[in-house]
Subunit: 199 residues, 2 copies
């Protein structure tokens, strides 16, 4: 049996490599959307799943075949779910990670640890074709809390202030392999693979 | 601990009773959206999950609290996923079950059994509040194939022509209890309950 082509609706090289590694045993041949000239569409959804669908649909349309979209971010309970789908632009359009973290720390200022609960969330959507009415959907959460100051040099985004008490480390202090094992994206990908195997 | 209110974004009495029965052990107190004057919103999504979200969002907004939306339909492989989200209006707006089944049988005319594969699909979306960016999402599939003629008097929709080879019966021939155990909605609800328990 030949491998099945699958377009990844992302331009992020790290994500592409991770998806390739996890999905090639399932006989998928992963391709970046840039190979099909996809222009990233505006993320107009109000939820992660809607934005993942928007991305997957643009890629499925351009490639005329199956496509995987993802969307992820940080959900802070004391902020009613913010920054949520606006995680990458919490401090404004094209804001830096530094500026986004600064805004988060200001909004949570003076809150005690037990009120700083948060989780990273990742949603993956696999469309068989652009008009697929029933895409496979898998999500993962990574629970922790927001520190009052940064710790660690790895990762990206909010990683330096996201502390996982079970790991005893921030997301920026974990080696990449360990992070992928416990992270929101790693869990979502594990679940998507189970769905592919049983669908 | 008092029970948590949960609005069901449906006017269907059968669904309400089923959700109530399954969710009350989880300490939810289920209420119909009619209690909050919700007008069913237009289902403008291109996937079941988008329509379930649209319904849940309207109910969460009206009730100012958690809401559960669902959307379901029949996905026929030889028809590239149709009738899909248009299952209830396959033969036209406000079409009867009879007319929808007739159209399906015409579209599949002369196809042999091995090309008549189909599944019922149900998507459930639980929003904590109207701006929840990361709703719980659970889906279920019920695989079978489409007969060339109706069999059985129970159920509704496409049930009389949907045959489950493992059960040796059409969906319209199964007693309600048995149907709920193996159906797309039953499976989706089982999975949603697992998500609620572990989220």
């Amino acid at each position: 049996m030949g491998s099945r082509p699958l377009v990844i609706a992302s331009g992020n090289a790290g994500k592409l490599a991770e998806f390739d590694q996890m999905l090639s045993p399932l006989n998928f041949s992963v391709k970046p959307q840039s190979a099909f000239g996809v222009v990233p569409p505006p993320e107009t959804g109000r939820t992660f799943v809607e934005n993942a669908l928007i991305k997957a649909r643009a890629a499925a349309e351009a490639a005329d075949g199956p496509a995987l979209g993802d969307d992820s971010g940080l959900v802070v309970e004391a902020l009613d779910g913010r920054p949520g789908i606006r995680s990458a632009r919490f401090a404004g359009e094209d804001a830096s990670d530094e500026a986004n973290i600064d805004r988060l720390l200001v909004e949570l200022r003076d809150l005690p640890e037990e009120r700083r609960g948060a989780y990273f969330y990742c949603c993956l959507v696999l469309l068989q074709h652009v008009d697929d009415p029933a895409p496979l959907i898998a999500s993962g959460r990574w629970h922790g809390y927001i520190l009052e100051a940064r710790r660690g040099d790895g990762g990206f985004g909010y990683d330096p202030v996201f502390h996982d008490p079970r790991m005893g480390a921030t997301a920026a202090e974990l080696p990449a392999g360990e992070k992928n094992r416990v992270s929101h994206r790693g869990r979502a990908l594990d679940r998507l693979i189970k769905l592919i195997e049983t669908a």
